[in-house]
């Protein structure tokens, strides 16, 4: 390695222990894969030095560890999966003029000048999911979520979306992060017979719920996925690999799918096969963290420095080819335009495209744009088609 190539420390802050450790490990692996590629690139004259710390799923540890990493020289933090963790880091990066690179679906209503958002906000996940689902499946979802801001706000938006179409939530129920006892939820779902289940559960809670709901489907056909699917904005290929065949038939919306047939994704998967070996499905967690790091390294090389202001200016000024697509980051709200892909879990443990995406969607983190306002305004003329006609979700792969 040539000694005159600058090396910049980059804080990598994910939880590889705790209630969503599996997702955290995927994110760390994705970030490290991105860093390795940047460092191996013959065209980029810089090196990134990962500074890895593990908050073990404890929110307050994120702030302490981000503070420490920044004090030790990192000016960029790639980190946080959950919104409660992100809310701990944002004040720290704002105070120190650093930059947070956040890459996971979240509930919106945030736009820090010291963060770049590569994860989808509701107009890029829940709105397209419900646009597809409500006319086909009905307007009485049962909502289950992890007991923090992600679960609460997605349930709130879901309620407003179904009420705008003349429906109502069958119920909204919450489990603390990491809790896996779902029996009471399953009993209530059986009794209430909703049109579908919206899950905002995260990590082990999600896995336990999917398994328990699968058992219910074996007892009663009404709760099989073709009749009453579980849909989610945060169910990833990693979750499928954890749950196995019990997840088959359920639906996700994601900005990355392993099976996406694009030139960028084919090349990405080929490189990752070289790195990880055969047989690894790339999860959206992995791909999102990787993509954020790819943009970070490329922009840093172009800036010739790790100065957050200079890097931010480059990131918001042009497009970057990533596995998530040809990304543009809006200079006004710091969110990436992202493509929502609707997909259904197959028995093979992979998500398969349900409906071709209509392309990238500009982020509207405060749901203030015309499309979001239209979706949230009552439109009774657009009431759901008869549930009996809508029960069968068709794969148009």
């Amino acid at each position: 390695m040539s000694s005159n190539i600058p090396a910049y420390p980059v804080s990598v802050l994910f939880s590889a222990a705790g209630p969503y450790a599996g997702l955290g490990r995927e994110a760390v692996a994705g970030a490290l894969a991105g860093i390795a590629e940047i460092n191996a690139s013959p065209t980029l004259s810089l090196r990134l030095r990962p500074v890895i710390a593990d908050p073990r799923g404890e929110d307050r540890r994120y702030a302490e560890l981000a503070e420490g990493a920044i004090r030790d020289g990192s000016r960029h933090v790639v980190g946080a999966l959950t919104s409660s963790a992100r809310k701990e880091i944002v004040p720290v990066v704002e105070r120190h003029d650093a930059l947070l690179w956040y890459a996971f679906p979240y509930e919106g209503y945030e736009s820090s000048q010291h963060a770049l958002y590569f994860g989808a906000c509701p107009n890029q996940h829940l709105l397209p999911l419900f646009d597809y689902l409500l006319p086909r499946q009905g307007v009485r979802p049962f909502v289950v979520g992890s007991n923090y801001i992600w679960g609460w706000e997605i349930a709130r938006i879901a309620r407003e979306l179904v009420e705008a179409r003349g429906g109502a939530l069958s119920a909204d129920r919450y489990l603390p992060l990491g809790h896996i006892d779902c029996d009471h939820l399953i009993a209530e779902i059986r009794q209430k017979k909703p049109d579908f289940i919206l899950s905002n559960l995260v990590g082990e809670s999600l896995h336990a719920f999917i398994r328990a709901y699968h058992s219910l489907g074996l007892e009663d056909d009404a709760f099989r996925p073709e009749n009453c699917p579980v849909v989610s904005c945060n169910m990833t290929d990693f979750d499928l690999s954890a749950v196995g065949a019990a997840a088959a038939g359920h639906i996700t919306v994601s900005t990355y799918l392993h099976e996406l047939d694009t030139a960028d994704n084919r090349a990405f998967k080929a490189r990752m096969t070289e790195r990880l070996g055969e047989g690894h499905a790339i999860s959206s967690c992995f791909a999102a963290a990787y993509s954020a790091v790819l943009v970070l390294g490329t922009a840093m090389a172009e800036a010739g420095s790790d100065d957050p202001a200079a890097v931010r200016e480059i990131v918001t000024a042009r497009r970057f080819a990533t596995p998530l697509g040809d990304l543009r980051v809006d200079p006004r709200n710091h969110h990436a335009d992202l493509t929502p892909h609707l997909a259904r879990a197959g028995a093979d443990g992979c998500f398969h495209v349900l409906e071709q995406s209509s392309g990238p969607v500009a982020a509207d983190p405060y749901l203030a744009g015309l499309a979001a306002r239209a979706a949230l305004t009552p439109h009774p003329a657009d009431l759901p088609i008869e549930a009996s006609q809508a029960r069968k979700l068709r794969v148009v792969k």
Binding site: E94, Y109, E110, S111, S112, Q113, H114, R332, N333, P365, Y366, A368, G369, R373, L376
Partner: protein
């Protein structure tokens, strides 16, 4: 949940009463994300600005006479932009009827919640003012109720409680408040006296 309906600011027009300043630029950036159109004005608002949906005003350099309405009677939510937390300045901002504030320097957060809180408080204040006006009217009519009760007792009701019950029944039948029914009964009496 709370049961109150959230106001959504998308499509609103905002006036910012402040000298050019980076905090104003940050405020305009946040408002643009919320699809709120903003216009900056200094040193004072004029009549046309009274049509705005919300006013952000400088609490540091602001003074009486900048607004085309009396202090505290703004027809829209008022949000103070506070730099100096000196009590005199806060008192002045409150006297203008501000129901929310943003601390300067303004960064990339705070405007959405300030808008929702100010709009909600403004709506509550307006509703309470209407209630108070209504109750004051009823209080003003209280002597008529006393007169009507005495009149009904004179017409054979055995006591105050019975007379009050009859008055209430009359008000319900006539679909008016007790005070209005009492005034009507007393007006009849006045009318009868004048006729006599």
């Amino acid at each position: 949940m709370t049961g109150f309906k959230r106001l959504e600011p998308a499509g609103w027009q905002a006036i910012i009463l402040h000298r050019p300043h980076p905090s104003v630029d940050a405020l305009i950036r946040q408002l643009a994300m919320l699809h709120v159109e903003a216009r900056t004005v200094w040193p004072q608002l004029d009549e046309a600005d009274a049509r705005a949906d919300v006013v952000f005003f400088d609490a540091d350099d602001g003074h009486d006479g900048q607004f085309p309405w009396s202090a505290g009677l703004a027809p829209m939510p008022m949000i103070a932009l506070v730099g100096s937390e000196a009590p005199g300045r806060i008192e002045w901002a409150l006297s203008q009827g501000s129901t929310a504030h943003l601390l300067k320097p303004i960064g990339s957060t705070g405007v959405y919640s300030a808008l929702l809180i100010a709009a909600h408080s403004h709506r509550i204040v307006r509703a309470k003012s209407d209630d108070i006006r209504h109750l004051e009217d009823r209080l003003r009519q209280r002597p008529a109720v006393v007169r009507a009760v005495l009149k009904l007792m004179g017409q054979g009701e055995r006591d105050e409680a019975a007379a009050m019950k009859t008055l209430r029944t009359i008000a319900m039948t006539w679909r008016m408040t007790i005070e209005e029914a009492a005034e009507t009964i007393c007006a009849d009496e006045q009318h009868a006296k004048r006729e006599a």
